[in-house]
């Protein structure tokens, strides 16, 4: 055990990731008026995935990728969420639930489509059981492609939100109105 403790004391944390500057700039224009707080809560909705994206989403929370260090966390309740993160194709059987989750969130809502299926239906594009990607149901603010995208790509994509939002969060943020 002492060996482990000593190793941890001597080791240095890896450099934190940063968002893509171009993306941050364009998101800032969208988030600019949003009055979000300093940390963002994510509500994940699987709209018809194969569960690979869920595995990699879970992996963003592990000791290596550690999403919470950037002020991003997953929340079970849509009422507490700023980001609606959708994985999988937009299946007809999940459309109603996806719309209800979106309606339950306080404005402003940022919608992220994670994985090729959520981006445009992926390999299932054209299947009669689906309506396409997430944007066939909701307007989408950010797309993170990959099948599945790896945890580092997901973290980097989500970081653009934090960085776009940080710009305004330096001033004391007014209390959010519950929608």
């Amino acid at each position: 055990m002492w060996k482990t403790v000593a190793r941890h004391l001597l080791s240095r944390a890896p450099e934190p990731s940063t968002g893509d500057p171009g993306l941050v700039k364009s998101l800032r224009e969208r988030v600019g008026t949003s009055r979000l707080g300093r940390s963002l809560a994510i509500r994940h909705v699987p709209a018809g995935s194969c569960n690979a994206c869920e595995l990699e989403l879970r992996a963003t929370q592990n000791l290596v990728h550690d999403l919470t260090q950037y002020g991003l966390s997953f929340t079970p309740s849509p009422r507490h969420a700023d980001i609606l993160l959708v994985t999988g194709v937009s299946g007809k059987n999940m459309r109603e639930a996806l719309l209800q989750a979106r309606a339950a969130m306080p404005e402003p809502v940022l919608v992220v489509a994670v994985g090729d299926c959520a981006v445009d239906g992926g390999v299932f594009k054209g299947s009669p059981a689906i309506s396409g990607g997430t944007d066939s149901v909701l307007s989408v603010d950010l797309m993170i492609s990959g099948c599945p995208p790896n945890p580092a790509q997901i973290v980097q994509g989500l970081l653009s939100f934090i960085e776009a939002n940080e710009f305004l969060a330096r001033a004391p943020a007014p209390r959010r109105e519950m929608g």
């Binding site: 699987p46 194969c50 690979a52 869920e54 000791l63």
Partner: protein, 455 residues
């Protein structure tokens, strides 16, 4: 395939695995790969008496409109009858008629980062009297997408039936296509498939054991096992170019050879897991607060597991010895031998113990197989032929079966039986032995795939 009469079909004995229909026949699959069929008359066939047949008969009705005459359960399986707006009627969930019974509705969106499905509990106080699972939310039309495509093209859909078992599904699909076309796969591909399948098993076992502990509020095991999974995924990416090794298995072989340095990356990840595993196992066994949550929780008795021909850890924790790597068996496992742990208790703790016992065996297999990689090509091209074939591969949760009919190089018909199809009814039984608060543990310990049955 044996064609049976309408009288012999329901009387056929054996361990029932799957049932499906095509335009002219209904097929039933029994262990270890015995296929029987009966002709459809006016789109109907006699229902089978096996416990596991119920879901498949409901599914055949939803997918092809074929009726099982005499079936007790005629609820839809994955069909929600929704209109273009996604709105549809809710089914009626029947509670036991006792005083003070009320229903608790959960899902399709769950609290954690998992797949969608609706659970309707009938409870009296804390005690669960009945659970009814309504699935079909992850329905993507996979079977329809596979039809008409060449085996190599369709492999992309097999790899996305259940992402956590993408290698096993890819391998079972490839086995079926190779059986239909009479294809001999080169030795190196056979070994690399097995290396990937065992890596997949390790990645899922580690992350799921941790997640069960996490559901019991024990964060330490969750974070350590999640780290073990991360190391395995990173090594898989170094060796095969993809963390989950998706699309690596193709009919005729594998899509790419193991990368230079990939073997060393895998061995390093295995070493790290092997060093830490005994201490993690001790923590699991020694902490009374954790054991209190898992011992005696969500029990599946061996008789019930046998009735549903449960495979994988869900079956082995309840006295079932079956493993498709041994029976019917496929290469290269006969070269390396295989130890299959079996327990009798059938509770959450037993399912965790089975998975803990499978980890060292997978580590040994991967090391042995990497040491003995044959020097052959990695794939041969499938010919443009016709034929029908069955294929099986053992995923971490049990045997995955594929049935294919190929006509002039294109897939004319297909059926996919994920082991979850037989495990969901077991979850409904297991949940009704416990209190509502234990459901997350029981659900995670059986870990049925939603996407794998929604197709």
């Amino acid at each position: 395939m044996i064609l049976l009469s309408h009288e012999d079909w329901p009387a056929h004995q054996g361990r029932f695995i799957a049932l499906w229909t095509d335009a002219r026949h209904a097929y039933a699959l029994y262990e270890p790969g015995e296929l029987v069929a009966v002709e459809l008359v006016d789109g109907a066939y006699p229902a089978l008496p096996h416990a596991g047949a119920g879901w498949f008969q409901r599914l055949a009705r939803d997918l092809n409109g074929h009726k099982a005459i005499g079936a007790a359960d005629t609820r839809p399986a994955i069909e929600h009858s929704r209109d273009a707006d996604g709105r549809g009627p809710w089914p009626e969930f029947k509670s036991p008629e006792d005083e003070g019974v009320h229903q608790v509705a959960v899902g399709p969106i769950h609290a954690g980062i998992i797949e969608p499905g609706h659970f309707r509990f009938s409870v009296i106080g804390e005690k669960v009297l009945k659970l009814e699972a309504r699935l079909g939310y992850a329905h993507k039309g996979t079977l329809g997408m596979i039809r008409g495509k060449s085996p190599r093209l369709a492999a992309r859909f097999a790899a996305r039936v259940s992402g956590d078992a993408t290698v096993a599904h890819g391998t079972a699909f490839a086995h079926a296509a190779e059986a239909a076309l009479g294809l001999q796969v080169p030795g190196r591909a056979i070994h690399l498939r097995a290396v990937m399948a065992e890596l997949e098993r390790l990645a899922n076992h580690t992350s799921d054991i941790g997640a069960i502990a996490g559901d019991a509020g024990f964060a330490f095991l969750d974070s350590r096992f999640a780290l073990a999974r991360e190391r395995i995924c990173a090594a898989s990416a170094a060796a095969f170019g993809h963390r989950l090794m998706m699309d690596m298995v193709i009919p005729g072989g594998v899509a790419g050879d193991i990368a230079t340095g990939g073997g060393a990356a895998i061995l390093d990840a295995l070493d790290a897991l092997e060093v830490e595993l005994p201490s993690l196992k001790r923590v699991f066994e020694d902490y009374a607060s954790l054991q209190d949550r898992v011992v005696g929780t969500g029990t599946v008795p061996p008789s019930l597991a046998a009735a549903y021909a449960a495979g994988g850890y869900a079956g082995r924790a309840s006295g079932q010895t079956h493993d498709s790597r041994l029976l019917p068996g496929y290469p290269p496992y006969e070269t390396f031998g295989l130890y299959v742990p079996v327990e009798q208790e059938g509770d959450v703790a037993a399912r965790i113990r089975i998975r803990l016992a499978e980890i060292p065996e997978s580590i040994r297999l991967i090391r042995d197989m990497l040491n003995a990689l044959p020097d052959t090509p990695i794939a041969i091209a499938p010919p443009i032929g016709s034929g029908a074939g069955l294929g099986v591969a053992e995923s971490f949760r049990g045997p995955v079966w594929y049935w294919l009919r190929i006509e002039s190089g294109a897939i004319a018909d297909v059926f996919i039986a994920d082991p979850s199809t037989l495990h969901w009814p077991l979850l409904e039984h297991a949940a009704a032995t416990a209190i509502l608060a234990d459901f997350p543990l029981i659900n995670k310990s059986i870990n049925g795939s939603y996407s794998g049955v929604d197709l």
